[in-house]
Amino acid sequence: MDKTDVWQGTLALMVLKTLETMGPLHGYGLARRIEQTSGNQLTVLYGTLYPILLKLEQEGHILGKWGQSDNNRKAKYYSLTRSGRKHLASETKRWEQRTAIMGRFLSPSEEA
């Protein structure tokens, strides 16, 4: 399968989920982690990540803070806030509903 670009809404959800499982991460780390999680089927130009991080931060779902990386480099780390957790839960539910509906449309009907 070709490496697929990710569209923005989905990317935001991936960011939130990744932060939930991994804890605080910087932008580059987030991009790498998302690629890994997708089994390298996705490619994330992490430039596209910044506007999304900014939006999530403005909405209060994540919080950015400057800190030190493992190899002693200054980097901005993002962590999930409480409202971010709630938002993630509700967005996950919506995503599941949507895929379930699409699934019913696209899979061959069993009753037929």
Binding site: G27, L45, P51, Q58, G60, S69, R73, A75
Partner: protein, 910 residues
């Protein structure tokens, strides 16, 4: 929630873009380094690592851009940039900015001031529950009795409406009357309001402390409710907001009454102009107006009726139900003894009386009569025109500026600004000007209002109109400013972005604008002249009206040396005989003062707009003989005529013999004698009044006196009948008149002293000369005349400046041509007349529009005029002459400059 949060953070982002940009750059850099280190670790060369990292990052510029847009609100940000640019441009030409701001501040400030007056007096809804449901009810047509105040009804009429009208959830009534309040030994005169028991429930208002009136507790027993509700303001001012005053006893007109509560803060009453200090149940009327008990009298109109419509009823449907009620009431009234014998035609007119209803959402005051409304509407229109003239002038200035800025605009267009962006920026500049002007205007208007309020007639009460702006006034001013900015900004902005790029960029030096902009400016000046003419012509009519009113012969002699003051002994507990004795004694005591020539007193003060009118019956004549038997009444003392300077034509003056409880003698004025008795001498004939039903005409006419004004010059000379104060059955208040031979000013304290000698606790009020009384009565007329003159003058000044600007511009543009003409031998006077001809051309065109407009519009103010017709050739001629003089003044300077052009220089000048 999170959307709002994001919006707020973006709004904040508008202001710290640079810092945020830097932070983003740091974040990107640090992430890039992290990536490069990873790549190095996986074995790439530094070069490869760096390239790989940059590729994975994506386009750096577009990342920055989209972050920047995301971080703030792009349109707001560019708006702020335009704003900054505008401020810079305005600062750079302080002369223009100052003049424009001055014009706008004057125009907008004057508009705000007049609007504030209009809004506070008649537009703003009352601060009560559902004001839209409130209506005022009154009747028109012959009332065949006495009437006090505008839109008044009798109390029994109110009761009929209250009981019978199904369209209303409440019908309530009120009446203003001065009262004397005494608390801890200190007496003072306050304004009181007598109200029906349901007054507060009808308005949906509660008490701040204690309770307010209710129908059950305060409107059942005649004279049986000695209760007082204080207004919040009075409670704070007089009782220091002490809640303990509730339950205490105070003396009202020397009668003990209990303070039951304080009405809600902020509520002043249904009269937006004047508010009472205390309220008393209407059943207490006989005690509040000693000597006058008219609660049960159908022939006395004195209360104002208001009502609250039931949901589901409109004013039209409610009016229908009232009409049926009124005709029942009238049918009943006509059978009463007083009306039994009236002439048939009068009877028909009486039965055809109409009930009228109007929304009272904004309440009703004495300043809401038809003529006052016309006055305010006229002033608003005039002040609007002044602002329009100011607008046109600023527009004209902007066009000149646009011409000077053509190069800047051309450069900005050339380097890629769109015309839309430029227009927006120029409009923002206009808005900055108009909003700043409005801010200054708001300050100006508060000052102007202080002055204006002093002009308004108060009818003996303090006006309670605040000159301070609130959010309504603020919104009006801002709205007006935006509209103004658009009016004067749009055309110049549109003009200036229409530049021809190549020619504008090529040309050198100052540019004076194209032919199009000159034509536009000429049009604007012509309009200014036309509007100025309208304002001047209007001002002329109002000034002439005021002069006519002031110069009307009052009949009274030398009113500068006639001092008047009022006392109200009955309200301080005096019995009827004591009032009469007191007044008579006071008259004698004042007469003993030095410089006092004579003293008299009357029941109703003259030239104050107040009046009492009754229907007269004449001995030996059938009532059906004539329709109109209305005469104007006053009760006067002996020596009143001598004091007022009116001669007796026939018969005798009242004297000490005329004493008692019933009127036995009368003096009529010349007009009354002429109208009722023609050539016959009325002395010795007997008359009577309809207010005494069934009484035989037993009042003997003992004298005829010269004519004089009664309410004021506008009402003119009335048919008057004078009765002796000493025979009155209602001698409650008296207006004294003192003729002095010395300047009146120093007399005042001596007169007060004489009253104090007799009774230290009796308040003396309204002390002034009759001349200043007349001036006060003409307050509204003086306000109109003064303001319209000021508006006219201001408009003319602005228009002259505009004219000057255009002429100067034309000269600058035609310098070469004029130089050539002079070189070819044209005389300087020819040049001079050329410029003046141009100026007079614009004047003529302006008048060409202005005169017909004035002709069409002045008729709408005819009700405000006195002794002058709306179309007055002289007034128009003077207005035109003033404008011509202004034109010459505006034209002379540029004309002289044109004449002084040196042909050598002009021809070299490119």
């Amino acid at each position: 929630m999170s959307t709002i949060r994001a919006l707020l953070s973006r709004l904040a982002g508008v202001f710290n873009q640079a810092a945020k940009d830097r932070e983003l750059q740091e974040e990107i850099d640090s992430n890039l380094q992290l990536h490069i280190e990873d790549c190095l670790r996986s074995g790439m060369t530094p070069e490869e690592a760096r390239r790989h990292a940059l590729v994975k990052l994506g386009g750096l510029v577009s990342v920055r851009e989209s972050c920047r847009d995301r971080r703030s609100i792009p349109w707001l940000e560019s708006g702020i940039r335009d704003l900054r640019h505008s401020l810079r441009m305005l600062r750079r030409s302080p002369g223009f900015t100052l003049i424009a701001l001055l014009l706008l501040a004057l125009g907008i400030g004057a508009n705000t001031a007049i609007f504030t007056l209009l809004d506070r007096l008649m537009l703003r809804p009352l601060p009560v529950k559902d004001p839209d449901q409130l209506v005022m009810i009154w009747t028109t047509g012959p009332h065949l009795g006495s009437n006090q105040g505008s839109r008044s009804s009798s109390y029994p009429m109110y009761q009929d409406f209250e009981e019978g009208a199904e369209a209303f959830s409440y019908v309530f009534c009120r009446h203003f009357t001065p009262l004397s309040v005494s608390w801890e030994g200190q007496a003072e005169r306050v304004m009181g309001e007598l109200v029906s028991g349901n007054y507060f429930s009808a308005l949906g208002l509660g008490a701040a402390v204690g309770r307010v009136f209710s129908s059950e507790e305060d409107d059942r027993v005649y004279k049986g409710h000695p209760a007082v509700v204080l207004s919040h303001q009075y409670w704070v001012a007089r009782f220091a907001a002490d809640p303990a005053v509730v339950g205490k006893e105070i003396l009202v007109n020397s009668y003990p009454m209990v303070v039951v509560g304080v009405s809600a803060a902020g509520f002043t009453g249904v009269d937006p102009a004047r508010s009472p200090q205390i309220r008393v149940p209407i059943q207490m009327k006989p005690l509040m107006t000693p000597g006058s008990d008219n609660l049960g009298n159908r022939r006395n109109q004195w209360i104002q009726i208001f009502a609250r419509l039931k949901p589901g009823f409109t004013r039209e449907s409610a009016l229908g139900s009232l009409e049926a009620l009124l005709s029942q009431t009238l049918e009943r009234e006509i059978t009463e003894p007083a009306l039994r014998d009236i002439p048939r035609s009068l009877r028909e007119r009486f039965l055809a009386r109409k009930v009228r209803m109007e929304s009272a959402a904004s309440g009703y005051s004495h300043l809401q009569g038809t003529s006052q409304r016309t006055m305010f509407a006229t002033l608003m229109a005039m002040v609007g025109l002044v602002l329009l003239i100011a607008c046109f002038n600023v527009a004209s200035l902007l066009i000149a500026r646009a011409a000077a800025r053509q190069k800047e605009v051309a450069v900005r267009l050339a380097i890629g600004a769109s015309r839309g962006q430029l227009t927006r920026q120029l409009l923002i500049e206009s808005m900055v000007l108009s909003l700043t002007g409005a801010g200054l205007g708001l300050v100006l208007s508060a000052g102007l209002l202080w002055a204006l309020l002093g002009f308004l007639p108060t009818n003996g009460m303090l006006l309670t109109v605040s000159p301070l702006p609130d959010w309504r006034i603020f919104a009006f001013t801002v709205g007006l400013a935006l509209l103004t900015g658009l009016i004067f900004g749009l055309a110049p902005a549109w003009q200036s972005v229409r530049v021809d790029l190549s020619s504008a960029l090529k040309s050198e030096g100052a540019i004076t604008g194209g032919a199009g902009s000159a034509r536009l400016r000429r049009g604007l000046v012509t309009a200014q002249v036309a509007f100025s003419f309208l304002l001047l012509a209007g001002a002329g009519l109002f000034v002439k009206t005021l002069r006519n009113l002031e110069q009307t012969d009052p009949g009274f002699h030398d009113i500068e040396h006639l001092v008047t003051f009022q006392i109200d002994p009955a309200r301080n507990g005096y019995s009827k005989p004591r009032v009469k004795n007191f007044c008579s004694l006071l008259q004698d005591n004042i007469k003993s003062l030095p410089y006092v020539k004579s003293v008299g007193y009357a029941w109703i003060p003259v030239l104050t707009g107040r009046e009492a009118d009754w229907d007269m019956v004449i001995e030996g004549r059938a009532r059906s003989e004539r329709d109109d038997t209305q005469v104007w009444i006053n009760c006067v003392s002996p020596d009143y005529w001598e004091t007022m300077g009116l001669g007796l034509i026939d018969g005798r003056d009242f004297d000490r013999r005329d004493y008692g409880d019933h009127f036995r003698v009368a003096i009529v004025n010349r007009e009354c004698a002429r109208d009722f008795f023609g050539n016959r001498n009325p002395v010795g004939l007997h008359i009577g009044f309809d207010t005494d039903p069934g009484a035989t005409p037993d009042i003997e006419i003992v004298g005829v006196v010269e004519n004089a004004l009664n309410e004021g010059p506008r009402e003119g000379v009335r048919r008057q009948v004078f009765l002796p104060f000493s025979q009155s059955s209602f001698p409650y208040a008296a207006s004294f008149y003192v003729r002095t031979s010395a300047p009146p000013g120093p007399m005042y304290s001596a007169l007060r002293g004489k009253v104090r000698e007799l009774d230290n606790a009796l308040p003396v009020y309204e002390m002034k000369t009759l001349r200043s009384q007349l001036a006060e009565t003409l307050g509204a007329e003086r306000l109109t005349a003064t303001l319209s003159t000021a508006f006219g003058g201001l408009a003319t000044l602005i228009a002259a400046v505009g004219l000057y600007g255009v002429l100067a511009l034309v000269i600058t543009r035609r310098t070469r041509e004029i130089g050539l003409r002079i070189a070819l031998g044209a005389r300087r006077t020819t040049i001079l007349s050329m410029v003046l001809t141009d100026a007079f051309g614009m004047l003529g065109l302006g008048l060409g529009f202005g005169v017909p407009c004035a002709y069409l519009l002045t008729r709408y103010v005819s009700t405000l005029l006195f002794g002058v017709t709306p179309i007055d050739a002289w007034t128009a001629a003077i207005a035109a002459a003033i404008l011509a003089a202004a034109t010459i003044l505006a034209g002379v300077l540029p004309a002289r400059r044109a004449g002084a052009i040196d042909p050598m220089q002009a021809l070299r000048h490119d």
